[in-house]
C-alpha cells in the first residue's frame, strides 16, 4: 500500500532525515516526525497517520513499547518498531504490546518496506474482520 502516511518517532536526527528520504523513495508519505514518546501521542492525534514507525528507547517519560500500547489503544494505528534491540525479552515485550512489525537497525530498504506492507495489510485485515464480525 504505497502512499500510506507514516509518522516517524525517533530521537536520532540523522536517522530521521535518512528515514524520511527512504520512505519517500519507497512511495510513502511522511506524515510527521517526533523525537519523544509523549510528543508522539499528540502527533498521532494531530496527523492521523496510517502507521507509526517508532524506536523503543526514546526520551519522554515512557518507552516506545508503552507508547505503542497507548497509540494502539487510543487511536487504533498500527505500530512498527525500528530498533537496535535484538534481545528476545524486548522482542517479546514488543509483540505483547501489539507490535505489527519489528525492524532491526541498521535497516535495509527492502526489509523496511516488507515490514510496513505486512503491518498495513494485517491492520486492514483486522479492521475488515472486525467489521464483518459486527455485521454478523
Amino acid at each position: 500500500m504505497t502512499n500510506a502516511r507514516i509518522l516517524i518517532v525517533e530521537d536520532e536526527a540523522i536517522t530521521v532525515a535518512a528515514l524520511k528520504r527512504e520512505l519517500t523513495s519507497l512511495g510513502y508519505e511522511v506524515a510527521g516526525t517526533s523525537g519523544a514518546t509523549d510528543e508522539a501521542l499528540k502527533a498521532v492525534e494531530l496527523h492521523k497517520p496510517d502507521l507509526v514507525l517508532m524506536d523503543i528507547t526514546l526520551s519522554g517519560g515512557i518507552n516506545g513499547i508503552i507508547a505503542a500500547l497507548a497509540i494502539r489503544g487510543n487511536f487504533h494505528v498500527p505500530v512498527v518498531f525500528l530498533t537496535a534491540h535484538a534481545d528476545e525479552r524486548t522482542m517479546k515485550r514488543a509483540v505483547n504490546a501489539g507490535a505489527f512489525g519489528y525492524v532491526l537497525k541498521p535497516y535495509s530498504g527492502a526489509g523496511l518496506k516488507a515490514a510496513i506492507e505486512t503491518a498495513l495489510h494485517k491492520h486492514h485485515t483486522e479492521i475488515e474482520s472486525r467489521a464483518s464480525g459486527l455485521a454478523c
Binding site: 535518512a18 527512504e22 537497525k105 527492502a110
Partner: protein
C-alpha cells in the same frame, strides 16, 4: 542439587527462595531426620550418621544457615538418642556424647561451607547479570552507531546524480548491514564468542541478490553452506570478503544477460572453503590472478591475509568464474573470563 531445587524451591523475583519454599525445605529436612533416626535406632549403625548430612544440606541450601544449624544440632541429638536407646552393651560413658558433639560440629562446618557456596553463587549470578546487561548495551550502541553511519551514507548519496556513484554508497550500506547482522547473530545465539557463518552467508547472499540483481536479469541463487563456527573478528572479515565477492559477481558475471545462476558454497574442513561462482563468460584470457590489481581484489587479498586465508580466482570447469577462499579451521575463541568490560 539444582534438579532438586527446581522441584523444591519457589523463588521470588530476585531469585531468593520464598517463605513457602523455606517452610517446605524445613519440613522435608525434619522428616528426613526422623526417618534416618528411626533407621539408626533399628540398626545401631554409626555409619548412618553420614546420612544426616542430607537434611542438613537441604535445610541450609533452601532455608538458610540458622535452619541448617538447627537441623544439624537436631541430627546430632537424634543420633545420640538412637544410640543411647539402642545400645545395650556397657562401653564408655562419655564416648556417645563426644561423638554427638563431633557430629554437631561437622554438620555445622558443612552448614557454613554451604552458606559460603550459596553466597558465592549469588554473587556470581549477579556479576553475570551485570555483564550480560553491559554486553546488551554495547551491542545496542554498536548497532545504533552503525545505523547512524548508514543514515549518513543515505543522506550523502542523495547529493549525487550519477547512478554508479550512488551504487558505491549503497554497497557501503550493504557492508554495514552485513556487519550488524553478524553482531545480532552473535548476541542472539547466547554464545557470545561463537557464530554460525553458514547462516550469515546465506542471509547475506539472499539480501545482496535481492538488492543488486542486474536489471532485466532473472537470477537463480544456490547456497550450499555447512555450519562453520567462528569468532566475531574472523566472521566480520570473512563477511566483508563474501560481500565483495558477491557484489563483484553480481556486477560483472551477468552483464547483458537475461538469466543466470549464482552459486555460493561454504564447506567445513581443514581448510574451510568459501566459494562464489557465477555462470558467465569466465575470466578473460589475459587475466592473471597473481598480478591482477584493483581496489576490490586488493581489498579481498588484504582481508584474506588478515585471517590467514588463501584466495583462488579461476575459471570453473562447469563454466563461469569461481573465487575460492581457503581459510584455516580455527576453534572459536572463548572470551577471557578475567576480561573486564
Amino acid at each position: 542439587m539444582n534438579a532438586l531445587g527446581a522441584r523444591l524451591a519457589i523463588l521470588d523475583r530476585s531469585g531468593k527462595p520464598t517463605r513457602i519454599s523455606r517452610s517446605v525445605a524445613t519440613a522435608l529436612a525434619l522428616a528426613l531426620v526422623a526417618v534416618i533416626a528411626w533407621l539408626d535406632y533399628f540398626t545401631g549403625d554409626f555409619s548412618l550418621a553420614v546420612f544426616y548430612l542430607a537434611p542438613v544440606v537441604v535445610a541450609t541450601w533452601y532455608a538458610g544457615r540458622s535452619t541448617g544449624w538447627f537441623i544439624g544440632l537436631l541430627s546430632a541429638a537424634a543420633w545420640l538418642l538412637a544410640d543411647q536407646t539402642a545400645s545395650h552393651g556397657g562401653g564408655e560413658l562419655l564416648r556417645p556424647y563426644w561423638n554427638a558433639a563431633m557430629l554437631a560440629l561437622t554438620y555445622g562446618v558443612v552448614t557454613h561451607l554451604l552458606t559460603a557456596l550459596a553466597q558465592l553463587q549469588a554473587e556470581l549470578r549477579k556479576r553475570i547479570e551485570v555483564r550480560t546487561a553491559s554486553l546488551t548495551e554495547v551491542h545496542h550502541r554498536v548497532k545504533n552507531n552503525l545505523q547512524i553511519i548508514s543514515s549518513f551514507l543515505t543522506l550523502e548519496a542523495e547529493k549525487l546524480t550519477n547512478a554508479a556513484d550512488k551504487a558505491v554508497f549503497s554497497e557501503c550500506r550493504d557492508r554495514i548491514y552485513s556487519m550488524a547482522r553478524l553482531h545480532e547473530q552473535l548476541y542472539s545465539s547466547g554464545e557470545l564468542s561463537d557464530l554460525d557463518f553458514g547462516a550469515h552467508l546465506r542471509e547475506m547472499a539472499e539480501m545482496l541478490v535481492h538488492s543488486h540483481t542486474p536489471p532485466g536479469c532473472s537470477l537463480a541463487l544456490e547456497v550450499r553452506a555447512d555450519p562453520v563456527a567462528m569468532d566475531l573478528d574472523t566472521g566480520v572479515t570473512l563477511g566483508l570478503i563474501a560481500n565483495e565477492l558477491l557484489l563483484n559477481a553480481l556486477k560483472h558475471g551477468f552483464d547483458g544477460r537475461s538469466e543466470g545462476k549464482l552459486t555460493v558454497e561454504l564447506r567445513a574442513g581443514n581448510p574451510n572453503q568459501m566459494s562464489v561462482r557465477d555462470d558467465g563468460r569466465g575470466l578473460p584470457p589475459e587475466f592473471d590472478p597473481r598480478s591482477e590489481a584493483g581496489l576490490g581484489i586488493d581489498l579481498v587479498r588484504g582481508m584474506a591475509r588478515q585471517i590467514g586465508a588463501e584466495v583462488k580466482i579461476e575459471n570453473a570447469p562447469e563454466g563461469g568464474t569461481r573465487t575460492t577462499i581457503l581459510f584455516p579451521s580455527l576453534a572459536p575463541r572463548r572470551p577471557d573470563p578475567t576480561t573486564k568490560l
